[in-house]
Amino acid sequence: MSETSLRLVWVYPDLLSTYGDQGNALVVERRAQQRHIPVSRIDVRSDQAVPTSGDIYLIGGGEDRPQRLAAERLRRDGGLNRAVANGAIVFSVCAGYQILGTEFVNDLGRPEPGLGILDVRSIRNDGPRHVGDILADVDERLGLPPLTGFENHQGNTVIGPSARPLARLRYGNGNGTGDGTEGAWSDTVFGTYAHGPVMARNPLFADMLLKLALDVHALPPVDEQWYEALRAERIAAATQQPA
């Protein structure tokens, strides 16, 4: 963390903010402010350089063409790769998750190189789009309650040897490969297919990012009333929807 405030970087809202992804930035920002942690949010448009001195980077979901444009511009820019090499924290969702990997299939149906900062590779599945509530048990090393989210994608993502599944599915399609995994992570880089937005439904993920950035093991409590009520409702909804 820099000396004055925690730097929260939202990558490419002009291309990758189709599914309420701003919500992830708002929740992280809000939960920092409630703990009196000074936080400055930096929204980086795709014609601007990605700063390398951020603490937490958020990258969201988007449509197929903007996803390709974002990958092209992020590869050319190199800032996100340099930030990760410096130990920055990255949390990515859906199209953003695929971009962090080594390769995905772009809107033209061709393999597109990703940034290679998470060992995953994505293809497009031929079946129906994955749409609906998901519920998954988070990797126990992260010590978090179950992940609830809303997925809406056509990707199948295979996790390579140097990354781990973020969660094991109870309901939903997640990585879509049939191995029961959802999302991936390694060190300080995380990816998920869960929208909702994911931080609104899983505020302890936001706290995890804050704790990593601040290098602390605990944060003061905040009022969880509405988050808890929403989580309970959506977890019940995931278990009740038709398979």
């Binding site: 809202p13 002009d14 291309l15 903010s17 189709t18 599914y19 309420g20 992804d21 701003q22 919500g23 708002l26 929740v27 809000r30 448009r45 795709s46 014609d47 449509e63 197929d64 063409r65 903007p66 444009l69 749409v131 609906g132 809303f150 809406n152 929208h195 909702g196 937005p197 609104a200 009022d223 509405w226 988050y227 009520a229 929403l230 409702e233």
Partner: protein
């Protein structure tokens, strides 16, 4: 000749009759107006019926993400100055509903038709419209609708050879791109508050630059077309430079924009702006929207907002604080089942209002408002919310099925 009863073939007549019979059965069974089922039966018997019904009408199509029902109504009112109008006034805007509406207007000269965004190209092919009004395109129901830019692309391809005069919003880059392949376009500077679906050039993918009201792509040079009509504050400025005041009963900037576009469409048919606008002033509410309803001794104003662009325009028209605000959000099939769009809406605009929250997805909304740092109260239903609200007219903002639920609950 006016009217479309004469030229129908025996099969088309049979189809219309069968459709009306099916609609009557549907109504009798309490399943809504029956317009969609009637149209479906009729189209099954005569797949070309829509084209045939439209043959002897001057057809105007209206499509957009937001404002199409209201604009259809405004254009219909304006054109009544010069002849009878048939219209799908209740918003049944897919081919079956449109067929049913046209079948009901055998004496009409004009057909003013709202069309769902996804069906515009097909309907435009079937009915050979004289004019097409394109208002705006933005994210809506992302769990099932096509991507927003794909819709613009379908419009662009489907309308590229049209003989219609296309009346299009120059301030929406997606609409401008969709319309710019059409041979005859009347550009209207109708404004668009929501900008977050058009930061990328629809043509080349470059980043759009947006200084003031202008926009252009720095990469390929695609830019805002010069408008001939413009909404300017409370006035619509016609191509001859005359500014006409807009004095609608309908509230808000977006409806002034709808009126400006409607005046431009009316002019295509020779109806002067003064005449067109004055006829639009008679419109008080459209399918329940903007209606002020007395309920439990209070006044409720019912406002429909289905997506982030719609919520943004709605926030700008409600009474200021301390007017109480009641919000209701559902996520049923017709709403889209993904509620993540709530996070694209800037709810901090409601700061200072007492806020009451109901609807199927009130907990999503509660977390959203909590994170926005607002005070709010979650209520079991509209009755509890109305009982809890401090004095003053209650501004009720709801998305699609939540709006229908509310209308039923308050007897509108």
């Amino acid at each position: 000749m006016a009217g479309n009863s004469g030229p129908l073939s025996p099969r088309a007549k049979l189809a219309v009759t069968a459709g009306k019979a099916a609609a009557a059965v549907s109504r009798a069974a309490g399943r809504g107006s029956g317009s969609v089922i009637g149209g479906k039966v009729a189209l099954k018997l005569d797949p070309d019926l829509l084209a045939r019904l439209a043959t002897h009408l001057d057809v105007v199509l209206v499509s957009a993400t937001n404002g199409k029902t209201t604009t259809t109504r405004l254009i219909a009112e304006a054109l009544r100055a010069s002849g009878q109008v048939v219209s799908n006034a209740l918003g049944a805007n897919m081919p079956a509903g449109i067929t049913s509406a046209l079948a009901g207007g055998s004496e009409a000269r004009y057909g003013v038709i709202e069309v769902d965004e996804k069906y515009l190209a097909g309907v435009a092919r079937d009915v050979t419209p004289k004019a097409i009004a394109l208002l705006n395109l933005s994210r809506d129901q992302l769990d099932r609708a096509a991507e927003t830019r794909m819709l613009a692309e379908r419009w662009r391809e489907g309308l590229s050879g049209t003989d219609a005069v296309v009346v299009a919003n120059a301030d929406d880059p997606l609409v401008a791109w969709a319309a710019s392949s059409c041979p005859t376009v009347v550009w209207v500077a109708a404004g668009q508050e929501w900008k977050d679906d058009a930061w990328s050039c629809p043509s080349c993918g470059g980043v759009l630059q947006r200084p003031g009201d202008d926009w252009y792509c720095g990469d390929c040079g695609f830019r805002r077309p010069p408008p001939t009509w413009a909404l300017s504050g409370d006035y619509v400025v016609a191509p001859d430079g005359v500014a006409w005041p807009i004095q609608l009963q309908l509230p808000g900037r977006a409806n002034k924009a709808n009126a400006a576009t409607s005046a431009a469409v009316a002019a295509v048919f020779g109806v002067a702006p003064k005449v067109a606008l004055e006829r639009m002033y008679a419109v008080q509410a459209v399918a329940g929207r903007y209606d002020v309803v007395p309920y439990q001794g209070r006044d409720l104003r019912l406002l429909l907002a289905k997506n982030p662009a719609g919520w943004l325009e709605t926030f700008s028209l409600i009474d200021g604080p301390p007017a109480p605000v009641l919000l209701s959000v559902n996520a049923r099939g017709a709403d889209g089942t993904d509620t993540s769009w709530l996070w694209d809406v800037d709810y901090t605009r409601l700061a200072g209002h007492p806020i009451f929250v109901i609807g199927d997805r009130k907990l999503d909304l509660a977390v959203r408002l909590e994170v926005a740092g607002l005070d709010f109260r979650v209520c079991a239903d509209v009755d509890e919310a109305v009982r809890s609200a401090p004095p003053g007219r209650i501004e009720v903002i709801a998305n699609y099925t939540a709006f229908q639920d509310l209308r039923r609950a308050v007897g509108n």
